[in-house]
């Protein structure tokens, strides 16, 4: 009970990762992949910088490693508070560089005795950036360069003089199935069981009965997969966000409400936590249509064979004597969302969220992205190229109601020279196979030198705009921003393309939404401009 109480305090943010007991740390630790990356780097004698923000899990990661690998790694000695041994090998650990005075912070790598095999520093990005600015040739400066490249999906060449980078802030716990692991923790289940509830017995307690559904690996996996939709928002999910989410689904809501708000599947969508807030901006379970089962759901016909549930799963029924009202209908559909037989949670959402481009990212389908970009830039009026990305621009400056009717091309880039990359949570690691990804996706020009590669962030918002088609009204500001971003990306690509021998000019008629492209051969040496034809 002591452990459960401490866990409850941790979930309530009364206790932080720095102040919990080793026993609790062990009980709530799940394998993320970062532990191995950290251990391997330290075993190889490499310094490590664990970057991220407060609540990102940096301290927890160091603590977990200290607890779980005794004997395998040299002793962890806290710096600057602990006395470093005279002879025995040790690892200097700065568990929270942000908390130490800035003068001391500059010396974290300094005055290390020969028996200090490595230094591991957990630090927020802001202070790390300050250190890099102060000491331009330092390990901090190298770390920032590697970190920023990794955040754009670019892996710089290995540099053993620079620290290994673990970007906890950019790590994607959802992609690595961490939610499913957390929801399956024994301690979490125990807490649900002892959670004070007004229900007279367990059989009528919606919170506990609903939690039983999570014993199924399939259901837990679906819960995790659903939150991948949150990733489509493109914002990093912190470990603190995860724990706030767990706290809310375990402890939040009430069984007495109508519908009962204590069930985890309800809280997934309508809970009071950041992840649920982000999720309900994108997905509404009430809008998911199950064609054959819809009427049965509405009339409370729970036993209908049309409700094809996952094997071994039983629906938790709700009183539907007087038909369902909209809230109770939502409650049932929230539950069915996880229980219905389907390929994946996102598959269920396919009518709600257009996943075509998301899928292109997942399958590394550059052609689809290039085709979408070409189509977007030509307002969908001209059959888009698939194997070449056309780099459109216009030299206009004045703001008008409509966008310019004419655009000129700075050249083209073969789609084969572009790749889709994900942000990296581990960089400059001694083991090049050590790959952990973040949640951001980028279209990157791989032909340029690594540190000069142009990259374009394919955030969910960008994908939605690209998919929806370009607006010719300048008042549609999201498109104005996107064009601005694309214009800079295209100019960077054109820098590498250096194509000067063909000029394409596109003209769009916004009234009829038709377009044409005039092409000209440019021969500067001969002073010739030769019309090549017009495509409509």
């Amino acid at each position: 009970m002591v452990l459960l109480e401490e866990f409850r305090q941790f979930l309530g943010s009364v206790k932080t990762s720095e102040s919990i007991s080793n026993e609790l740390r062990k009980a709530i630790s799940v394998e993320t992949g970062l532990e191995k990356a950290l251990a391997d780097a330290l075993l190889a004698g490499r310094d490590v910088i664990i970057a991220g923000s407060a609540g990102g899990g940096k301290t927890h990661l160091l603590g977990t490693l200290a607890d779980s690998a005794p004997g395998q790694l040299p002793r962890f000695i806290g710096w600057p508070s602990e006395v470093e041994p005279a002879d025995a090998p040790f690892i200097r650990v700065v568990s929270d560089a942000t908390a130490i005075p800035s003068v001391a912070r500059r010396e974290m790598f300094e005055r290390r005795p020969s028996n200090c095999v490595a230094v591991a520093i957990a630090i927020n990005e802001g202070p790390l950036l300050s250190l890099a600015h102060e000491q331009v040739d330092s390990a901090y400066a190298k770390a920032v360069k590697i970190l920023h490249a990794a955040q754009r999906g670019i892996s710089l060449p290995s540099d053993i003089s620079a620290p290994v980078i673990l970007d906890v802030g950019g790590y994607d716990p959802i992609e690595n199935n961490v939610i499913a692991k957390l929801l399956g923790l024994e301690l979490v289940r125990d807490l649900v069981e002892v959670q004070a509830c007004t229900c007279s017995n367990r059989d009528t307690c919606f919170r506990r009965r609903a939690w039983d559904l999570l014993k199924s690996d399939t259901v837990r996996k679906k819960a995790n997969d659903l939150l991948r939709v949150v990733n489509m928002r493109g914002q990093s999910v912190l470990f603190r966000d995860l724990w706030d989410f767990v706290a809310d689904v375990v402890l939040g809501g009430s069984c007495q409400g109508n519908p009962p708000t204590s069930a985890w599947f309800w809280r997934m969508f309508y809970g009071d936590n950041t992840l649920s807030e982000r999720l309900r901006e994108i997905a509404d379970p009430a809008l998911v249509i199950y064609p054959r089962a819809e009427a049965h759901i509405w009339y409370g016909d729970w036993k209908s064979s049309e409700l094809e549930l996952e094997p071994g799963i039983e629906l938790i029924e709700i009183d539907a004597a007087n038909d369902l009202d909209s809230e109770r209908y939502r409650w049932v559909k929230s539950q069915i969302f996880f229980l219905v037989r389907s390929a994946s949670a996102t598959h269920v959402l396919r009518d709600l969220v257009d996943l075509q481009l998301i899928k292109a990212l997942e399958t590394n389908d550059v052609i689809s992205i290039v085709r979408t970009l070409n189509s977007y830039m030509t307002y969908g009026t001209i059959l888009p190229k698939e194997t070449w990305l056309e780099l459109w621009t216009d030299l206009g400056v004045e703001k008008r109601t409509d966008r310019p009717k004419g655009q000129a091309s700075l050249g083209t880039i073969p789609a084969a020279d572009l790749i889709l990359q994900r942000s990296l949570a581990v960089a400059n690691h001694p083991d090049p196979q050590q790959k952990l990804y973040g949640s951001r996706h980028f279209l990157v020009h791989r032909k340029a030198a690594v540190d000069k590669q142009a990259s374009f962030a394919l955030s969910p918002e960008v994908l939605n705009l690209l998919q929806g088609g370009r607006s010719y009204r300048t008042a549609d500001r999201p498109h104005t921003d996107l064009e601005w971003h694309l214009g800079r990306f295209f100019a960077s690509l054109a820098d590498a393309a250096e194509s000067t021998d063909q000029l394409d000019v596109m003209e769009i008629d916004f009234k009829s939404m038709t377009g044409s492209i005039g092409s000209y051969r440019i021969a500067k040496e001969l002073s010739r401009i030769e019309p090549l034809g017009r495509v409509r």
Binding site: A51, G52, S53, A54, G56, N124, E125, G126, L129, Q151, V168, G169, G170, S236, L238, L391, T393, D394, L395, G396, V397, E398, K399, P404, K405, G406, Q407, A408, S409, L410, G411, A457, R477, T480, D481, W484, H485, G487, R488, A491, S492, A494, D495, E498, S499, T500, D501, L503, V505, E507, G518, Y520, I522, K524, S527, R528, I529, E530, P531, R534
Partner: protein, 477 residues
């Protein structure tokens, strides 16, 4: 209304005042005027105008004369139309006058539509910019390598052309940016020129075209800031250390134009109104002081003193000056025998041409062209806004090459250009803006506005947000 005469009489102290057709000058005009004054005017300007306008097909272009398609009207028409899209995207070029986009300095025209603002900004740069500025400008507009098809095409258009002369016209040297006694004017001049220096960093390759667009937008913004802040340097005193102490503009950072009733939108509206009132007061004060300072010969009859002072102010022979003075007095309905330095007289002269409505209308027209003042039309009160392209130009002009921390960027916008997006590192900023009844409320509104700006910068790829909430504005050339 005698705006021409009023402008003339204000000119020595206030080179930047709105002209008769305040809606006419456009960014392309100002860029042409700037290049025509600094580097020179192309002797092919007329033919290029004809080529990309509806005028008769000009001769003298080798790429046309030697082409086998020159007798195919459809191809010729199609090419001319496409060249217009490339080199006149803002539709500022006609057969008889015009300003194309200057991809190469040999495209520069001398177009009076800029109302002399282009040459004036060049004079400012000559006075305040670093010595290498002119070389940087030439490096930007006279490319030595061709790395994109637009530049290649421009090079063919200007083949055989030369720069015949720089654009002439008078620009007073005794004005707010070169008067050694006006320290606020010197500060404003140096900050504006520093901003333009940032936008003139020579860049090679296709990104050069982005830089030219930045400079075009930046020049135009500098004109607007000069119109609003230039006159205020006379009342700002000599202790100012940053431009917002001369005059500040509270800018709505969310997508323009913003909803009326939002406290930040109201503040931005009020900020523009206050600034315009201050400009009117400053113009009349500078005129009164200038006339009072003219050395009047002893023994001159009282009723001749103002006429004498005005002639001196205009720097013209008596007969020529008298014609202007007569028109001025008639149109402004003022007497020509008032005392030089009479504030009421000066105020009436300024009011005759620069009413609050006229100034607002003119600045709104200009500001809207680059998305700095909006809405462009309709009933909504005009306010300071920031469309994404001008935001990009601010970043390009204010941000050092290695980037800058976001709150420092906000400080720079305020200190260098007088633009207030938020408190930056000055938590007490709301106290002295005097736009809200409580500074606590004002502080919160400003902080919210600053956060909106931060998000917009990130969204537009102009800033990078790190996982601990830290944001760095990036200069990405």
């Amino acid at each position: 209304m005698s705006i021409t005469e009023v402008r003339q009489v204000l000119l020595p102290q206030n080179p930047f005042t709105l002209g008769k057709y305040s809606s006419r000058p456009a960014p392309q005009h100002v860029l042409n005027g700037f290049i025509a004054r600094s580097i020179g005017i192309s002797d092919r300007g007329v033919e290029i105008r004809h080529l990309i306008s509806d005028g008769p097909m000009p001769s003298g272009f080798r790429f046309v004369d030697e082409a086998n398609w020159k007798n195919d009207p459809a191809k010729v028409s199609s090419l001319r139309n496409d060249l217009k899209h490339v080199f006149d995207p803002d539709h500022r070029t006609w057969k008889d006058f015009g300003s194309p986009v200057i991809v190469h300095s040999l495209l520069a025209n001398s177009d009076p539509s800029d109302q002399n603002f282009g040459p004036l900004i060049w004079e400012l740069m000559k006075k305040s910019a670093a010595t290498e500025y002119e070389n940087n400008l030439k490096a930007l507009f006279i490319p030595t390598t061709i790395r994109d098809p637009l530049t290649a095409c421009a090079m063919i258009l200007v083949e055989g052309a030369s720069l015949e002369r720089v654009r002439g016209g008078s620009t007073s040297t005794s004005n707010w940016y070169s008067d050694p006694t006006n320290l606020a004017g010197a500060l404003l001049g140096s900050r504006l020129s520093k901003f333009l220096e940032g936008l003139t960093r020579p860049i090679e390759g296709p990104k050069r075209l982005l830089q030219i667009q930045h400079l075009e937008r930046g020049l135009y913004l500098t004109v607007i800031l000069s119109l609003m802040l230039g006159p205020l340097t006379y009342v700002a005193g000599n202790q100012v250390e940053s431009v917002d102490e001369i005059g500040s503009m509270v800018v709505w950072a969310e997508s323009p134009p913003g909803r009326m009733g939002h406290p930040m939108v109201s503040a931005s509206v009020r900020s523009l109104q206050l600034l315009i009132e201050k400009v009117r007061v400053a113009l009349s004060l500078s005129l009164a002081n200038a006339l009072a300072a003219q050395p009047i010969p002893s023994g001159l009859p009282e009723n001749q003193k103002l006429r004498f002072a005005l002639a001196e102010q205009l720097g013209l022979p008596a007969a020529e000056a008298n014609e202007i003075i007569d028109r001025l007095c008639e149109d402004a309905k003022v007497s020509s025998d008032a005392r030089p330095g009479d504030r009421a007289w000066s105020t009436q002269v300024v009011d005759s041409s620069f009413t609050a409505d006229e100034l607002t209308k003119g600045l709104r027209h200009m500001g809207n062209k680059i998305g700095f003042i909006g809405p462009g039309r309709g009933g909504g009160a005009p306010r300071f806004v920031c469309e994404t392209p001008i935001l990009g130009t601010l970043v390009a002009g204010l941000c050092p090459v290695d980037g800058v921390e976001f709150s420092e960027f906000v400080d720079r916008a305020r200190q260098e250009l007088g633009l207030i997006f938020g408190p930056g590192t000055n938590d007490n900023l709301a106290d002295y803006l005097d736009l809200w009844e409580g500074s606590g409320v004002g502080g919160r509104i400003l902080r919210d506005n600053q956060e909106v700006l931060r998000r917009r910068l990130v969204r537009a790829g102009l800033a990078r947000e790190y996982s601990d909430g830290h944001t760095e504005v990036i200069y990405d050339a």
